[in-house]
Symmetry: C2
Subunit: 488 residues, 2 copies
């Protein structure tokens, strides 16, 4: 338990009876200054609240600033329209409901989808720039373009349910780190809003009364514990828990095997722990965004993702997070991508060869797979791919090409040998207004949360950009709700 | 949220400042009278504590009384010895560590394994009878015999790690419901111990002081709320949450598809919710025991478990809970068992035919599988099975037999069409002494838990009998620990 204890006892809420006086006061106290915290603060200010933002790092941005800066937005945004794509809220709703696993949060999806165009304009009005241009695929956009396919919309399975549209909207910036640009805009907007921002200030725990109402926080400022009262509410926007080994071990131990934690240091579950300490419930704690980055170049989707027995287990055109989740859980992260000379290009990020052969038989032998297994997988696939079919896994015709041009190779995408990325998607259970709920479904008065401190839009499935949309959209709602409490 | 609210606000802990007087008092208050509650009460009494057991049903037993009455015990019990099986704690430890997924609770496994023989004697001393006889396989024993293989010990994968031994110990009773006999013994022992037992008495919530110490409970007795003080501690032994739809939806939604909930009504997560309300953390909430009951007759393990595309995905000799978990999560519960006329016998529980054919090709067509897929699966399997090999999935030689005798059939084990069983394995995070821990790893003073209200011995894997061993062994420890607090 050493590691956790070093992280401080976030759950040890302080009784208001032990607080003799408050050092500071505001209507809304926002814990964390990533995208969720920024949007919370801005909305709360615009609703007339006095706002203090407390950030433990030395500046704003959080994990959002390290991200690709892509938001999942649709329903007919100006960018979609200018790029010639039709979309409507209903189709987006159907896609998200289908792509979010067995228990999607319908209320959040409904509300978010119906407000997507408004939310796009709100972001623009607050300084976020989107070029009205179409890039193509994926969430790693090397140019300053905007619109991209960032989920499984075009897959047979989903295209049959909802009319596809590209919905990844990346903030305008040359290079794959547009998150810094997104957060530059949102941090500036927060400053302009008049919210007070305190950095290098770690919130230790919450202050509660005996009716469970949250009245404020205890924060470490300049080496001293300060009590800061929140008249309307405290909003926890403190990120996820991928950097808390103990929490990951308890809730999603397989994530420990992903090399790249898509996170900043602060993603140690502190916000979630504070919420638990106050009596909240954390849900879907096993869920995560797991990125198996094998789709650059896109031609590699024409390859075959197989386990170490030479068996396919998924349609390779499923979005890379869907492939990642299936590969990590059901295949123990032990997967290879089989390509031929026609489709092979140097992949990004780089990956090693697990084996090469002039024939599939030779490749199979080099990989020490069961005799005949990979040969059959490839032969069966090739036979049907030539007819534009993939009867077992249903890959879309566009990506079906028999693998026939030697030499053949298997790229080593085993989780320990390549650059899988992960961040957690589980967190506090919240209402659509960001109220933190108990396991009985009751709101804890005065306590709100948004972003990766909560379980948000994406229940079990993940399309790129959903997390930033969740953070910004439901951050706004939490800010408004907390401000409303102060005004009462 | 209606359903949850009807279940009462377990999380709404009462402040001791609002308790003007106590209606009753004891050293240890045990919430729930299943196997965990009974063993808690007995040990606490034997440690000299005054004990009250509160049970919401009209009598003791809980889910344990509806179970098969099988405990997972090893390390050289008298039954194992008399039946001619060698076992030692180290081998049992190695098996459990390997079979419990990526993050086993090593401390609990270590302690339990080292005390297993002592625990066996304790159970016998408290009236539980075990016939010193060997039955064979499984957890549904129709005779009054005792010892059985109840996990994956003999699988190639585990046999390479730990010397196999049968460890399922079923209490002596004719028929598959030996749980009632186990609980008759333990309930009688509890009565003999002098613990006071109150039935038809639902605990509503906990009473806490502002330092988070749990001082007692509020219980509904004869239509009135009664405050019962616990000088040493409250021990939550109130079962799992499979009968709480909302909690299942939030933590393990796929379980809703299993028809048979291995539970009593009380398994509505109330104990877990009380612990959360007091600031505890629930962990591994996605884990469960998922039973896909396809192994009676045992010859059916020689069949091929396939998905609807005719693909195998596991060695069929994996324990039925391991097959169940893999089939439900990664195959969406859509699986069939292919058999030939030589191995087919009427299965128990009964199951429908999904298809029959004189050839595999005909069967494949009838099942509307992709052309050639099942044919290849069977041909490849047969070719290797004839040589005693299963290169892809590694089924043990004993169960390898080419499927060649027509007619062939597919038994319909799709989750919606057959009798899958499930109960939850996630719950409150506890120390080896049953202390309920916060998300920071600190014990909540005065609060303990055991059994399915906690996340116990089996982290991600499940061998039959582990839950009753967990309930009884760690119930005892929690009872002792709480009694010790009263004595201080």
């Amino acid at each position: 338990m050493a590691r956790l204890r070093d992280m401080g006892r976030a759950t040890a809420v302080v009784s208001v009876a032990d607080v003799s006086s408050w050092d500071r006061e505001a209507d809304v106290v926002v814990v964390g200054f990533g995208s969720a915290g920024a949007c919370t603060a801005i909305e709360a200010r615009e609703a007339g609240a006095e706002v203090i933002v407390l950030e433990r790092a030395s500046g704003g941005g959080g994990t959002s600033a390290n991200s690709t800066g892509e938001l999942y937005l649709g329903g007919g945004t100006p960018v979609q329209k200018d790029c010639g794509f039709e979309d409507d809220a209903e189709e987006m709703y159907k896609y998200l409901m289908a792509a979010s696993g067995p228990n999607p949060d319908e209320a959040k999806i409904r509300l978010c989808v119906d407000s997507n165009v408004e939310h796009f304009h709100w972001l623009v009005d607050h300084g976020v720039r989107f070029k009205h241009s179409y890039y193509g695929d994926g969430s790693y956009i090397p140019t300053d373009d905007c619109l991209a396919w960032s989920g499984s919309e075009l897959n047979r399975r989903f295209a049959a349910i909802a009319k596809p549209a590209p919905r990844g909207h990346t903030a305008q910036r040359e290079g794959i780190e547009a998150g810094s640009e997104l957060m530059r805009s949102l941090c500036e907007a927060t400053e302009r809003s008049g919210a007070e921002i305190l950095t290098d200030c770690r919130v230790e725990t919450l202050v509660q009364d005996r009716d469970r109402r949250v009245l404020g926080v205890v924060a470490r400022i300049d080496g001293e514990d300060r009590r800061i009262r929140a008249r309307g509410g405290v909003v926890l926007c403190a990120g996820g828990f991928i950097n808390n080994d103990e929490m990951v071990a308890h809730h999603a131990p397989w994530l420990r095997r992903c090399k790249m934690r898509l996170a900043v240091d602060g993603d140690d579950g502190r916000g979630i722990r504070m919420g638990l300490g106050a009596g909240g419930e954390a849900i879907r704690m096993d869920t995560a965004c797991i990125v198996l980055p094998f789709t650059v170049p896109k031609k590699h989707i024409q390859g075959l993702m197989v386990n170490l027995k030479g068996q396919r287990f998924i349609n390779e055109d499923a979005y890379q997070t869907e492939v990642g989740a299936a590969a990590l859980r059901a295949q123990d992260g032990q997967v290879l991508l089989v390509v031929d000379d026609e489709i092979y290009e140097r992949p990004f990020p780089p990956v090693e060869f697990a084996g090469v052969g002039d024939t599939i038989e030779e490749l199979e032998r080099e990989l020490e797979m069961p005799e005949g297994a990979l040969q059959h997988t490839v032969a069966y696939y090739n036979e049907h791919a030539a007819r534009g079919e993939d009867p077992i896994h249903g890959k879309t015709a566009e990506f079906l090409k028999p693998l026939t041009k030697p030499p053949f190779a298997a790229l080593d995408y085993r989780v320990e040998h390549s650059l899988w990325g992960a961040f957690t998607m589980g967190g506090l259970h919240t209402s659509v207004d960001g109220e933190v709920l108990t396991a009985d479904g009751d709101a804890i008065p005065g306590l709100y949360a948004a972003g990766r401190t909560t379980s948000g839009l994406a229940a079990q499935g993940y399309s790129s950009g959903l997390s930033l949309t969740d953070c910004t959209f439901f951050g706004r709602r939490a800010g408004r709700a907390a401000a409303g409490q102060a005004a009462r």
